[in-house]
Symmetry: C2
């Protein structure tokens, strides 16, 4: 096999999850997924479609009805964008991750240089690597508060005319860091100068708690960019509509790319199932019944979990502005992969190790707070507290665990 | 965008289908898809899963139950293979096409040489090109009967130690050509010498009408290869289980690749929806209720269509041994894209142009005979016959149509 494929890292989150395989007593907060089933009316739309016999191939770029619904949804959030061509700028993809991969396939030649802001979920680094790119990471830095912050001048200095693509995920998984509008404007202006494409992973756009924007959502590159800017924005039904397992997302493209992305969809997955697209269409049409209550609930989860964690000895974290993760440093436990495995085995607590998201996050842990019942979060903190109290400094003998 | 992506050809089949957009009177035989809805009991399994709330992420490589079912199915068809590790050799993919793309991502570096036997569906050539490969095609040749045949020495001569991968689709879309066991053995022996990977697209394995094999299926590389041969076999639920729109397939891998393919699935689509996998599991468990009657019906369709076509003036075609296509040359109509568009507009008949599958098939047309009602095929031939009778030799004026 290709050396680059061999060198791609196995998910460290999965490695931790494997350590808890077959244990029903583990409180699992390791994956980026709510434990809430997709709402009934969305599931019913899929069932009706299956029962009606919609089991045939569909258009590469998605059902026109769904593309129109996405265009309307996007325009509603970003009215600054001109109204023409919205429909033509939408491509339905088999998950947000699939949209991001299609973006790399569209833009990245072997040998190209790609800059990725980290920590970030590992797929963002792996995808351009699969296409043969040289990936350069620009790490966020940690403020005294435990908040991760962008050193804007360092990022801009890293983006040169040799940089084919910048990949940035904000609101960020795992850190909760969010770009400001001014930062987005500065990045966009710089990338116009260098001719660099921006691939913006904005799947957490709606999961935003700062309350400082007119649309309630996090700042988006779509608020700053013109339709013909070198920008691709990736979205997903997974997080904002409780549809992780459906594998559906979309890209917002500059119109000149849509045709090419349609061809690449043909060669990658051909299309998404019609019945999945019907469910997504209804999810958008009745989105007000899903996303706003979900965001309120996630804020409650965040505000339940974060103060309890902050009160633990050795824990540092800032309140995340967006996303669905509490990302915290645990003093005295620098090997977070080992820590996460020990927490599973010794405390029945499933967290993701920070090192899964970049070496700069070693010593950190990610806790997904998207929990139907916030009491599970309280229980989890209790397990962590008890474990920390009992834990002796790791001996040399346990280092090989 | 990347030059190679820009240069990828838009599907010529879609171009023809667009010419018939909005016309309900067209008899459509252009896509590789039956007009039969997925059987009830398969759809019911998906509905039950959705209603039970299985709307979460799944394992990258597929549900263990489904992988076991696929392993059992594959072992049943190919008992020559040793029984150990069958489960570990199966990866569930988001469609057959997705499996083929993952194979290219696993094996093909930019600059690698890839050999593809053509005519073939265009995705097989496009996928390695997307990965940056130089693709060399080895065309089948046409016998006097109209049958497409492999010049084995020419193929073997084209495969050198510089050839990273051979891609071969047999039973073949569009020609119905099928590899013999002897040819497979010779190709395998040669590729062992050159160190070349074989990517075998065997999605039409079960749609085989020759009746000369113990398992009823077409010859497979899995009958000849050892588990550690450089071989990837791609399969799909689409054709043999009437599940085109579900987007589910699988790869049979040499065990050393499975882990890498699992990583690549994470970075491409993460997983297939659980409810789709539940439907596929039931499809395999009760496969005897689907595939054998389907194959008998397709044989009836083939035996209805082919003699009628053969009786038309200017038509040359041989009886296809496998697949679900009649592929025929139409004398006096060398521009088959133009012919296909004219047939849509002037005769209400939807066929695929041969040139979609390789330049060597210019002047040919593909007719998918997977029709629930064979009378539709008879009607279609009648439309073609009437059109041929009325058709004047194309004037210069009509060439721009």
């Amino acid at each position: 096999m290709r050396p680059v494929v061999e060198s791609l890292e196995e998910s460290r989150i999965r490695e931790v999850a494997n350590a808890g395989m077959g244990r029903s007593d583990v409180l699992k907060f390791w994956f980026g997924e709510s434990d809430e089933v997709t709402p009934d009316f969305i599931r019913e739309a899929a069932v009706a479609s299956i029962q009606a016999g919609e089991t045939f191939y569909a258009h590469n770029l998605g059902l026109p009805e769904l593309r129109h619904a996405i265009a309307g949804y996007t325009h509603g959030l970003h009215p600054q964008q001109p109204t023409d061509h919205w429909f033509d700028r939408i491509a339905v993809t088999s998950g947000g991750v699939n949209g991001l991969m299609l973006a790399s396939q569209t833009l990245v030649e072997a040998g190209d240089e790609v800059v990725v802001v980290t920590p970030a979920w590992p797929n963002l680094v792996a995808q351009p690597q699969i296409m043969g790119a040289r990936v350069r990471t620009v790490p966020l830095t940690v403020a005294a508060s435990g908040a991760w912050v962008l050193e804007l001048p360092a990022l801009l200095a890293a983006i040169t005319p040799a940089t084919r693509m910048l990949v940035v995920n904000a609101p960020n998984n795992p850190t909760g860091w969010t770009l400001t509008r001014d930062e987005q404007a500065a990045i966009l202006a710089h990338c116009r100068q260098t001719g660099t494409w921006i691939l913006a992973d904005e799947v957490y756009e709606r999961l935003y708690f700062a309350g400082d924007s007119a649309n309630g959502a996090a700042p988006s590159f779509l608020d700053a960019a013109a339709p013909d800017d070198r920008l691709i924005v990736a979205h997903s039904f997974s997080k904002s509509f409780l549809m992780t397992g459906w594998r559906l997302g979309w890209l917002v493209l500059t119109p000149a790319l849509t045709h090419a992305v349609g061809k690449l969809i043909e060669f990658n997955t051909s299309c998404a199932p019609v019945f999945v697209q019907r469910a997504a269409t209804v999810a958008l049409q009745r989105g007000d019944e899903v996303t706003p209550p979900l965001v309120r609930h996630l804020q409650l989860c965040r505000d339940t979990l974060v103060p309890l964690l902050q009160a633990l000895p050795g824990v540092t974290l800032a309140v995340p502005r967006g996303g669905m993760y509490a990302f915290f440093r645990l003093e005295g436990h620098p090997d977070c992969l080992l820590t996460a495995k020990r927490l599973v085995r010794e405390a029945g607590l499933g967290l993701a190790p920070g090192s899964a998201f970049g070496p700069e996050a070693a010593g950190w842990l990610r806790w997904c707070f998207a929990s139907r019942d916030p009491q599970r979060l309280v229980q989890g903190v209790e397990r962590l507290r008890a474990w920390l109290e009992q834990d002796l400094p790791p001996s040399t003998g346990s280092a090989g665990l």
